[in-house]
């Protein structure tokens, strides 16, 4: 069968790094053209396949940050360096890098939603994505759930980031409170002159978008990324369809002006 779009390719695992109590980052050796915000269909033979967003990538490596909550992700946890991960992709549109470049970029991410925006944060920090200003708000349930703590701390220490956990906790001297409170507290010189990326669990996105709108950020400058069940990534299996939109083809990243009209 020529060019079977369902056939994954093997990618060798070069590193597995624990991030939190149940999340970990797998690095595989693979090269493909991709952009932040896209995802791969990741699988293990006899276990299953699932869409996983890219949590960073380079010329010859890709990272996936995974939370062990399902059949596949639990099995991924047991893998070792040198073993193979099976991947196909990248799929989806990714973040609108052309639009984000040169902007006053604000990124608000919650929990495992930090993973898909991490390539944006890293590029914004090191200048590969040239922005006028960068502000990162990362929210987690607790300090045990913190992801990419060193990178986010670097971001915070140079005044470009806030790391918050929902409630005060012993041994935590950083910010607390829901991410929505921190969005509300942003003082924006000109809310119509920012690009605002919001990624996280559905409830977090809903209320964070509401706060951003309240600040005066226009709908078409708010960007959200959808997570949906998928079996193909190719616009065939039907699981991720909302109205006439296929999240795998037309998304997962949408401006809120479009996302607002998507009713599950």
């Amino acid at each position: 069968m020529k060019e079977n779009p369902y056939r994954p390719f093997p990618a060798e695992i070069t590193c597995i790094r624990p991030e939190s109590d149940c999340e970990f980052t797998i690095t595989v050796a693979a090269s493909a053209e991709m952009t932040p915000g896209q995802f791969f269909q990741v699988s293990l033979p006899r276990v299953g396949e699932a869409p996983i967003s890219i949590s960073d990538f380079g010329d010859d490596w890709i990272q996936f940050t995974v939370r062990a909550v399902g059949k596949l992700t639990n099995a991924l946890q047991d893998l070792c360096t040198g073993e193979k991960l099976f991947i196909r992709g990248p799929y989806g549109n990714g973040f609108p890098m052309g639009i984000l470049a040169g902007s006053n970029l604000i990124i608000a991410a919650g929990g495992s939603g930090v993973a898909p925006v991490r390539p944006l944060i890293k590029r914004g920090m090191d200048g590969r994505l040239l922005v006028r200003s960068l502000q990162v708000l990362a929210g987690f349930k607790s300090k045990e759930g913190l992801l990419f703590s060193e990178e986010l701390e670097e971001c915070r220490s140079c005044g470009r980031g806030t790391i918050t956990i929902d409630r005060p906790q012993e041994g935590w001297c950083g910010s607390t409170g829901l991410i929505t409170e921190h969005i509300r507290a942003l003082s924006l010189e000109d809310p119509s002159d920012v690009q605002f990326v919001i990624v996280g669990p559905p409830v977090m996105m809903k209320y964070s978008v509401a706060e951003a709108l309240e600040l005066g950020v226009p709908e078409d400058r708010i960007w959200v990324s959808f997570e949906r069940l998928m079996s193909c990534g190719l616009g065939k299996c039907g699981h991720c369809k909302i109205d006439s939109t296929y999240i795998c083809l037309d998304g997962p990243v949408f401006s809120y002006s479009r996302a607002a009209g998507l009713i599950d």
């Binding site: 069968m1 020529k2 060019e3 079977n4 779009p5 369902y6 056939r7 994954p8 093997p10 699988s43 293990l44 033979p45 006899r46 276990v47 299953g48 396949e49 699932a50 939370r67 909550v69 399902g70 059949k71 596949l72 992700t73 193979k84 099976f86 669990p201 559905p202 997570e227 949906r228 069940l229 079996s231 193909c232 190719l234 616009g235 065939k236 299996c237 039907g238 699981h239 369809k241 109205d243 006439s244 296929y246 795998c248 083809l249 009209g261 009713i263 599950d264």
Partner: protein, 340 residues
């Protein structure tokens, strides 16, 4: 295009010659296998003789399983090796089917071969083998509303046939089939199409569905009536949703398969993600999702409606939910009524 006529007896011989060269599929009656006692099941199956071709009743299941089986192996695994499932067989397959189903295949093609600009090769290799022999359909069965869905007329067929008492008339479009029919008498037969169904629906004619239609109280009734059995999805000729599942053999855990299985938007778990989040918990929401896909969303993407009005969902629903009536309710609600 040339047409021929045969006595049914003579055509039975023609059918026999078809079987020598082709696999022939069509609606077939399975005695006593229906949903109720003493009821027969009509479904698509391989035919061994002309008499097995069921012409009196609508098939309960559509012919889509010829291209999209309920359960299809995509890969075989041996350790870390992925081996594509080989083609089951080669050679052309003649399918006897009605115009609505031919139009149904057009919609399956749109999803499997066009959507996203990617061709699904598992579908394609089955689809390329099919040759349509259209059964002329001038009278509706129960629940048919193909005329309203503009799918009563089909042109994509290799041959069209009229079974009229003791006579069989054939119009041959694809010349490669002409040799089969050469001993028939010449005829001026061209197929007719049903022009009126007893069931009529008013398809909503809106470019953008108003947001209030998504939460309209008309959907609430389906919360209670629908039991999420998914029969409307499985019997539908245009439902294409599937899930991919891996399995391993219990005697050899290093070996296994990746399969795709029919799934459906009415079924529990259709949107459930790892971690438990899911969408459209309420069955009324699922009904709305399916209805809008069939008569609105798909049209936005492809320019024509997905539903072909075969009415199989209405035939199959154990709760007697009528999809045709649901479409009419949407149109009524859009006109400002209460969706009744």
């Amino acid at each position: 295009m040339t047409s021929f006529e045969f006595t049914r007896e003579a055509f039975s011989d023609v059918f026999g010659r078809m079987l020598d060269r082709y696999a022939v599929h069509g609606p077939k009656r399975f005695l006593g296998r229906g949903r109720f006692a003493d009821k027969d099941l009509i479904k698509y199956a391989k035919l061994a003789a002309l008499d097995e071709l069921e012409l009196e009743e609508k098939s309960y299941m559509s012919p889509k399983s010829l291209v999209f089986p309920p359960d299809e192996t995509m890969f075989y695994f041996t350790g870390q090796e992925f081996t594509e499932a080989p083609e089951e067989a080669e050679g052309e397959i003649i399918v006897f089917l009605r115009p609505c189903d031919i139009n149904g295949f057009r919609r399956l093609d749109a999803m499997f071969l066009e959507n996203g600009g990617v061709r699904d090769l598992y579908y394609l290799r089955r689809r390329e083998r099919l040759r349509f022999f259209m059964i002329e359909c001038v009278e509706s069965f129960d629940n048919c509303f193909c005329v309203s869905m503009k799918s009563n007329v089909a042109e994509d067929y290799s041959a069209a046939l009229r079974f009229d008492g003791d006579m069989v008339y054939v119009e041959v479009k694809d010349d490669s089939f002409s040799p089969l029919f050469l001993d028939g008498a010449s005829s001026d037969f061209t197929p007719d199409f049903v022009r009126e169904n007893r069931k009529r629906v008013k398809v909503p004619d809106v470019d953008e569905m108003p947001p209030e239609m998504f939460t309209h109280p008309m959907w609430d009734e389906y919360d209670h009536r629908c039991i999420a059995c998914g029969r409307c999805n499985t019997s539908c000729v245009t439902c294409t949703c599937f899930s991919v599942r891996d399995l391993f053999y219990t005697d050899s855990r290093q070996s296994g398969e990746r399969r795709r299985l029919w799934d459906g938007c009415h079924l529990d778990g259709f949107t459930e993600m790892a971690g438990g989040a899911s969408y459209r918990e309420r069955r009324g929401e699922r009904m709305r999702y399916k209805a809008f896909h069939k008569i609105y969303d798909f049209r936005k993407r492809f320019g024509y409606d997905m539903c072909v009005g075969c009415g199989r969902c209405d035939d199959a629903c154990p709760e007697y939910i009528s999809f045709a009536e649901c479409i009419n309710r949407v149109s009524a609600a859009l006109r400002g009524g209460d969706g009744r």
